[in-house]
């Protein structure tokens, strides 16, 4: 099996992933996007979602919180504010975030009592749900 794509996930805290693979699927803003070897050079904006790739025939995945994907000469670089492998996802924290966001949307007020930023609350609910789904895929 060819493993001629170099996949790297770069976050502000660390290089979250550095591996070789033959196919990658990224959550681009306008839908999932597949990348195989010899893909043309590309820059794509990413949505929060699940990044999938294969490693020795086994499918792997991790949660990415948006960011960008850059393909260049056999290298796929995912530049994202946060990238977490299923084992790294803190399920309790994600559930808490989910509950908090739901509560905020229900009450219509933020925890500090300021008027609610609905978009932000919905986004954080979405992130929490995506994290949980990435965890349960394992």
């Amino acid at each position: 099996m060819a493993t001629d794509l170099h996949l790297r996930v770069i976050t502000p805290d660390k290089i979250a992933l550095d591996t070789r693979t033959d196919s990658v699927r990224v959550p681009a803003v306008d839908g999932q996007m597949g990348i195989l070897s010899r893909h043309a050079a590309m820059v794509a904006a990413l949505d929060a979602g699940v990044l999938r790739w294969t490693e020795g025939g086994v499918s792997r995945h991790m949660f990415v919180a948006g960011g960008f994907c850059e393909v260049q000469r056999g290298e796929v670089r995912i530049v994202t504010p946060a990238g977490e492998r299923p084992v790294e996802i803190d399920e309790a924290r994600a559930r808490e975030a989910e509950a908090r966001a739901r509560e905020r949307l229900r009450v219509g007020k933020s925890t500090t009592g300021e008027p609610l930023d609905t978009v932000r609350a919905e986004l954080s609910l979405r992130r929490a749900l995506l994290r949980l789904s990435a965890k349960s895929l394992e």
């Binding site: 976050t11 805290d13 660390k14 043309a40 820059v43 794509a44």
Partner: protein, 294 residues
């Protein structure tokens, strides 16, 4: 003249202080390490983002200069993100930055600064100077030491929003740049508006970018990219300031420890001389007394 007993207790207290400053030096060392590691770890991300911005800016060409964050703000005031420390005992770290701030203010007499302050020392300084009403925001959540990328991103977004609201002409960051272990320079960098010539895309990169697929389209990607770019700038300023703070603190604690050691030696010398003197005096008394009895 201090008595033998006074000297003994002073030696002891200097010794205690030395132990404390030594412990503080150790703590500063470990923390310094940690912030340095984080600064190093954040570099690839910042480099990637800056590289992308540069390449896309090259691709968009002259249109870049017309984007909202690239033009001077509508307002008159200047927002200053001032990064200081929460705690003292770190040598001239804070006062150097304050001196730098004063100098900047002298050079820009027409500026109307509004402060966004990190660190209690900066807040106290501005209040003492009677500039309390110029403080727009005192950033305490989370505490500076536990700052992470998300906190930096929030601060960055706060500044972007303030800039877009049209109150400000520009936004600056005043922080301490970390050069080497013994060199940290108070620095002022412009955050907003972004100067397109600062984005410095190498000529090779520009041409390489022409046949790249951009999904969904260059302008959309660029507009998403720019806030990330600003976040990395703020994050970097915070990490460098923290690194400088701890390097400075370690250095001054080491100096204090050394000074305490020197002082201890001087006091010990004095103490021994004094003790000898007392013994000699007593001996003379005894000999004198024995002489008189004969």
């Amino acid at each position: 003249m201090a008595s033998v007993r006074d000297l003994r207790s002073r030696i002891k207290s200097v010794g205690n202080i030395r132990q404390i400053t030594r412990a503080m030096e150790m703590v500063a060392s470990t923390k310094l390490r940690r912030f340095q590691d984080r600064a190093v770890a954040s570099r690839p991300y910042a480099r990637e983002i800056a590289g992308l911005v540069g390449r896309l800016a090259g691709l968009l060409g002259d249109d870049v200069g017309d984007r909202p964050l690239f033009k001077d703000g509508a307002g008159e005031k200047t927002a200053i993100l001032l990064v200081t420390s929460d705690r003292g005992l770190c040598g001239a770290y804070n006062s150097n930055l304050f001196r730098f701030l004063e100098q900047w203010l002298r050079e820009h007499p027409a500026a109307q600064p509004r402060y966004y302050v990190y660190g209690r020392k900066g807040y106290q300084y501005l209040c003492r100077r009677g500039r309390e009403e110029q403080i727009e925001r005192f950033l305490v959540e989370p505490v500076l030491e536990q700052t992470d990328y998300r906190a930096a991103a929030r601060t960055s977004n706060l500044l972007v929003q303030a800039f877009q609201s049209g109150q400000y002409k520009d936004v600056l960051i005043l922080y301490t740049a970390f050069e080497t272990m013994v060199r940290y320079l108070p620095t002022c960098v412009p955050l907003l508006p972004i100067r397109s010539d600062n984005l410095a895309a190498g000529p090779g990169e520009k041409s390489a970018a022409t046949d790249v697929i951009l999904e969904p389209d260059p302008a959309t990607i660029f507009d998403q990219l720019v806030p990330r770019y600003l976040e990395t700038r703020v994050y970097n300023a915070l990490l460098e300031s923290l690194t400088s703070e701890y390097a400075s603190r370690r250095f001054s604690m080491k100096n204090a420890t050394d000074a305490a050691k020197g002082m201890q030696n001087v006091l010990k010398g004095k103490y021994n001389r004094k003790r000898q003197e007392t013994i000699t005096k007593e001996l003379l008394d005894i000999v004198g007394g024995a002489e008189a009895l004969r």
